[in-house]
């Protein structure tokens, strides 16, 4: 069931996986990281963020950390999330697909300015 929800991978889920690629984050930090990595184009609201996190958890693409294993400020009882190896594999494959698309776009001279 979750696999079907993630095929194709929704933009919000992809951005969350990407945000978690290099560090474990809690919900608010994920939202900020996604905003930063998309240059403010994507601001995840609570419904979208936690709905996507639930789907990713069900698909075992991310895992929730125990409070004890989270960063030191986990006294705040925030839930931290970590990318699993399956999640890393999926995000790599998505990025590879995007890179291929980008190569095609470049060869067709579709991009302009700084994006070239």
């Amino acid at each position: 069931m979750p696999k079907r929800k993630l095929d194709p991978l929704p933009s919000a889920a992809f951005n969350i996986l990407l945000a978690l690629a290099d560090e474990d984050l809690h919900g608010y930090a994920i939202m900020r990281q996604v905003e930063q990595q998309t240059r403010g184009r994507v601001r995840l609201g609570p419904g979208t963020l936690y709905g996507s996190l639930r789907t990713l958890l069900e698909a075992s693409l991310i895992e929730e950390l125990d409070n004890s294993s989270g960063p030191e400020d986990s006294a705040e009882r925030r839930r931290y999330y970590r990318l699993t190896s399956a999640g890393l594999k999926l995000v790599r494959s998505e990025v590879a697909g995007l890179a291929q698309t980008l190569r095609v776009a470049r060869s067709k001279r579709i991009l302009r300015g700084a994006d070239v």
Binding site: G45, P46, Y50, R54
Partner: protein, 257 residues
Amino acid sequence: MSEKLYQFLLKLYPEHFRRTYGDEALRLVRDRARIEKGFLARLRLWLDLLWDLAISLPREYGNPPTTRVAAAQLVNGQRSFQLLAEPSLNPTLLCLGGMLSAALFWLCVFVVAHSGRFPALFPVSLLLQEQAQNALAQVRYPGEEESPIRGFARNLAASGSAGQSLSAGVHAYCMSAKQEIPSNSAHPLLAFHFASPGASGVALIDGKAVKIFRYEQRLSIRAHVLAGNHQFVLYLERPAENTLVSSNDDLEYCQPR
């Protein structure tokens, strides 16, 4: 305030979502509200939250968690039924959701209808401004031979209120203020009356956009201008038939040189 309002809106989500992520969602809104202060930031926060609500609510109801109890299963070879893990939606909440949707719909209608007042929210309006600025760069001004633009200005100056057909594109002319005219003056600098269905475009004074309009039949241009000559530009997206124009008494059209 934002937190309390969102706490109320959270009740619209299914119970499983609230139970698992309600506190986290509330904390996220609290964090954002603490950082994003000021009218515009708060407006953006609420637009985000309402948009998110509209997107995520149907998904949460349509995709319940996979741990949900099966509705029917075999017990001792007989099909037996169990209660669903999710209680049915409270009718009050359904009504509330309906009202909220209607309010959102009318809010969207209002904002779109007055898009000229909220240019920052409308990239299309900004695009229109850019289009006008680009077109403006191609305008030829005094010192050159008679051009359709100057012809329009002269006709406008001569007739004042004669119905004119305006083509799409830039219409530029010179106007001279006898004295300083404040933006809150009782009479607008210029008032246009476009035939139905109205006109869309941008009005610029001295290169600065002062009004973006969409399908407006009665267009009033108000701005603070100092005494002296000013360049007025009307950029129309599409032709406007039978246009009437009137101006403030303290404003005169400059004679084409």
